[in-house]
């Protein structure tokens, strides 16, 4: 973004160096898959966080592990937004790009990822390559980007790396880290520590070679570049940790005392299990990689039935497969936590890309009446903490709690306040004491629908749990009054939970012309857009929902104080002025659908499915557009 940029001129003692001082900056490193651009970006993000910058890092992931080299679709890397204060989202267009080849750059260009004033540092190998085909691609790519306004600086990456290592392909990323460290004036010791930490697992020699590559890049930049970027830092805050949302979920699950997770590999949820597998090896616990998604649900349910609450992790296609088991868990009131890291759908869709299209499936996807809880963390920090809450609610309500994360949270990295772990978060050891005489497995409190759980090992509690209709004693009963009563009890739990919830806080004035409603990972972008809109004098506020089913209370009251309510979501909706679209047939965003049904307010929506996080500027444009159209005289 362009705010706060000004250009200074340094004394002309050497090649004139402009230092761009700014409150924030977005950069990215793109390469072919396997060239290590992601590691470079991660280390840069970590070092920046340690130096006191707000950071948001997003992985740029191609769908294939090893797509063809030098192809626009194969661009792989990291996008880092750093700022003076907390950074809550990935921002708008990229302002500095380091590209390992012109095709990766072209891929980003075609996606409109780059700002028109972007500076591009690019490997100089290809323009003069021996292969005429590659030279041709180079000139075609540059021709296509002609007029874009980029400032392109060629860097002899390969050439310089070869002075240090034999295989430059394995070393460019740390050379590039050196470039960036000089440009952004990063602490070199911190960088070295991080590099050593990242490579020591391989060997000391590898670590040392990578440090030398880093120095080479730093020195080259110092001798040859004519600009630096100074992003202010705000030091001395409370202790912070940095991780991505999937790591945070894994961490949170362990902090919640959960000791069994069952999963089947599925993008973008799988990395939760990588972290969990590693932690359980040391903390005690089981990561069960099941034979399929269905079995993963079954194993988690079996484990939960017999002990501490367990959980399963998946993404949309896997959630679809688990539905029958979720129905069983709800029917038999076996507590369970399910994490759905949403991706683009339907079907296999966009496996590595963000979307929020599972909301309605998450709430209503189980055949039969299947009341359960759906909650969504809005930040990476919340990914950590949501697991504690989810586990607790699942246990207390004998309920299924579905946690909706998404690919944006999953792969984004952000520093957040170091959690102060509280012993009360940990799941209690299972109660194995004898069951009091006469106590029933479903002894529903008629007021709340709640009943105490009896689990194997407890003398006197023997019963057979069943997914068939059953009475308090867990006896299979098909009569109408029992099914009516037990359905009521399962449903009442949701009402009881809802009555314990508190209304959402309004970001901005509690009344005005437009209220945006968001949920999940869009919080940062929405609030940034709202803040910019308000600085333009627009009367906009926002709320961000965490409890999606049951919905947080007081929504109707909040909505009534605004002229218009509009959800902002990353899922599909028809535009009102699209061909054939009428008020009657318009398919709306999923949260809008839900809110209309629950509040009877005419909630509008602005949604997109770009396969990437929403940019604050696009939301701002939507705010301006809708306000101009409907709210201005």
């Amino acid at each position: 973004m362009a705010t706060g940029v000004d250009v200074l001129t340094e004394p002309p003692s050497r090649p004139e160096i402009r230092t761009i001082r700014t409150s924030e900056h977005v950069l990215e490193i793109v390469s072919d898959s396997g060239e290590g651009a992601q590691k470079c970006g991660q280390i840069f993000g970590n070092v920046s966080a340690r130096m006191g910058n707000g950071v948001w890092t997003v992985e740029i992931i191609p769908a294939e592990i090893e797509p063809p080299p030098r192809s626009p679709a194969g661009a792989s890397g990291n996008r880092v937004r750093i700022g003076k204060g907390p950074v809550t989202n990935w921002g708008d267009e990229t302002e500095l790009v380091v590209a390992f080849n012109e095709q990766a750059l072209l891929g980003r260009h075609r996606l409109g990822a780059l700002a028109s004033h972007a500076t591009v540092l690019i490997e100089n190998l290809w323009a003069t390559h021996a292969d005429p085909g590659i030279r041709g691609q180079w000139s075609e790519a540059l021709a296509e980007m002609e007029g874009s306004g980029y400032r392109i600086v060629e860097v002899p990456m390969e050439e310089r790396c070869l002075t240090v290592v034999e295989n430059a392909r394995r070393g460019k990323n740390m050379f590039v880290l050196g470039l960036l460290a000089w440009i952004y004036d990063r602490d070199r010791d911190l960088c070295r520590d991080q590099i050593e930490g990242a490579f020591r697992k391989k060997s000391e020699e590898v670590a040392a070679a990578n440090v030398r590559l880093f120095e080479e890049g730093y020195d080259w930049a110092a001798e040859n570049l004519d600009f630096r970027i100074d992003v202010e830092t705000s030091q001395a805050r409370e202790p912070m940790v940095v991780m991505n949302g999937n790591d945070a979920i894994a961490f949170g699950a362990v902090a919640a005392g959960m000791e069994l997770a069952a999963m089947y590999p599925i993008t973008p949820a799988t990395s939760v299990s990588h972290r969990l597998g590693e932690m359980f090896e040391r903390f005690g616990g089981v990561l069960h990689q099941a034979e399929d998604e269905i079995a993963a649900a079954g194993v988690a349910i079996g484990a939960s039935y017999a002990g501490k609450v367990a959980f399963t992790i998946t993404s949309g296609p896997g959630l679809a497969l688990k539905t029958e088991f979720l129905g069983l868990s709800i029917m038999a009131e076996i507590p369970l936590v399910v994490v759905d890291v949403q991706r683009g759908g339907p079907s296999t869709g966009l496996p590595t890309k963000v979307e929020q299209s599972d909301l309605l499936a998450a709430i209503f996807g189980q055949p039969g009446d299947a009341p359960h809880v759906v909650i969504a963390p809005a930040t990476i920090e919340e990914c950590f903490h949501v697991m504690v809450t989810a586990r607790r609610i699942a246990e207390a309500f004998r309920a299924v709690v579905l946690v909706l994360s998404d690919a944006n949270l999953a792969t984004g990295m952000q520093p957040f306040r170091r959690p102060a772990i509280d012993p009360a978060w940990l799941a209690e050891s299972p109660d194995q004491s004898p069951v009091p005489e006469g106590m029933q497995p479903y002894q529903w409190d008629p007021r709340t629908g709640l009943s105490a759980r009896i689990m194997p090992g407890q003398p006197g509690g023997m019963h057979t749990l069943t997914g068939l209709a059953h009475d308090e004693a867990s006896h299979v009963v098909y009569d109408s009054s029992t099914h009516q009563r037990s359905s009521t009890m399962r449903s009442r739990k949701m009402a009881v939970l809802q009555r314990a919830l508190q209304p959402p806080e309004v970001n901005g004035p509690p009344e005005g012309k437009l209220l945006l409603v968001g949920w999940g990972s869009t919080k940062g972008a929405i609030e940034e857009a709202v803040s910019r809109a308000r600085s333009e004098g627009l009367s906009v506020s926002s709320i961000h929902l965490r409890f999606l089913s049951p919905l947080e209370p007081g929504l109707r009251g909040i909505f009534d104080r605004f002229g218009k309510v509009m959800t902002v979501e990353i899922n599909y909706s028809d535009e009102p002025d699209d061909p054939y679209i009428t008020e009657e047939n318009r398919r709306r965003g999923q949260m809008a659908f839900l809110l209309r049904a629950q509040t009877l307010v005419d909630v509008d929506c602005w949604t997109r499915v770009p396969g990437e996080p929403l940019r604050p500027r696009l939301i701002l444009d939507a705010i301006r557009g809708r306000m101009r159209k409907e709210l201005m005289p």
């Binding site: 039935y305 194997p456 057979t464």
Partner: protein, 316 residues
């Protein structure tokens, strides 16, 4: 992971012993003459013989006639969904290795809708007993062909006879990597049924037992010969398998088969003129999933220490 979280249960003076009455649940509602009755009786006899504490025993089932069995045994029971008993049992056993777990499946459950789980549970080789109550038909849904219905035998879905050769569950299990116990018995020979269940229970690992079982309503003719003519039965006998001396007088045909002999087991499992009962394969040295890695439970204080250490690695 709670290996034995029942430390507190055994208070002073807990030296209980259990009689048949301790395991009897409500009266079964299977058809008269259904083989499930015999299986239930044998199971209850086993519980008495092995003195399994009712609160530490779990019967897990899927959906089907046989899957009602847990309701009639006074232990813990989990009557889940069709075909998915094994994943549930896996979860129970992973979290609670201290519990004795029995899985009761029908042929539709195990060899059709849940076939994938069957193969993988065999490979996991967790310490549990898996009973396939095989009546060669879908009974509860009223007479549809199952994978184990013999070729040519009619049903409502294949009225002119089952199209394909029947799936042989013994061959399939014996063919799966890491199988550790494969046996076949028949519900109409209670002594053999009991002895087989006992061997299965005592085996440490995944004990797969196919129980041949009449459905009086839909497949009675398929089992008539086996029930009436001892000559068509052939017993596999061995000290490491199942040997019921009392049966020798009735069943003249027997083969001395060492259950460690996998090739022999596979040959014997092939369809032949006779119905072979006994332990086809047993090898306790196979890897058990739950034994491969086990850490002790940590107390809350220890966990918090570990978590703090882990957070330190992410500290900014």
């Amino acid at each position: 992971m709670n290996e034995l979280c029942s430390l507190a249960v055994y208070g002073a003076g807990d030296d209980r012993s259990f009689a048949l009455g301790d395991y009897e649940g409500p009266l079964p509602r299977w058809c008269p003459g259904c083989g499930d009755h015999s299986v239930l009786a044998a199971v209850q006899r086993l519980l008495v013989a092995e003195q399994l504490a009712p609160e530490r025993t779990v019967f897990v089932s899927g959906i089907g006639c046989s899957s009602r069995l847990p309701h009639y045994v006074r232990t813990y029971g989990f009557h889940g969904i069709h075909g998915r008993a094994l994943p549930v049992a896996t979860g129970i056993k992973l979290h609670r290795p201290d519990l004795s777990v029995f899985v009761v499946m029908g042929d539709g459950d195990c060899t059709s809708i849940g076939a994938g789980h069957w193969l993988h549970a065999t490979r996991y080789n967790m310490d549990m007993v898996a009973l396939l109550l095989d009546n060669n038909i879908y009974g509860l849904t009223k007479n549809q062909t199952s994978p184990t219905t013999p070729q040519g035998y009619p049903s409502n879905t294949q009225p002119r006879g089952s199209y394909l050769p029947a799936l042989n569950p013994l061959e399939a299990t014996l063919g799966m990597t890491n199988a550790s116990f494969v046996a076949q018995t028949a519900e109409w020979i209670p002594a053999h049924l009991f002895a087989t269940l006992q061997a299965a229970h005592r085996h440490r690992g995944f004990s797969f037992v196919r129980v041949l079982q009449r459905c009086p309503k839909y497949t009675a003719p398929l089992f008539e010969e086996g029930m009436r003519k001892p000559d068509v039965i052939e017993l596999l006998v061995h000290d490491d398998g199942v040997t019921v001396p009392a049966l020798a007088g009735v069943y003249k045909h027997s083969i001395h088969h060492d259950p460690l002999d996998l090739d022999g087991a596979r040959r014997l499992a092939e369809e032949g003129d006779r119905i072979r009962l006994g332990v086809f394969f047993r090898d306790e040295s196979r890897s058990r999933y739950e034994d491969i890695r086990r850490l002790r439970s940590f107390t809350a204080e220890e966990k918090i220490d570990l978590l703090e250490g882990e957070l330190e690695r992410h500290a900014v």
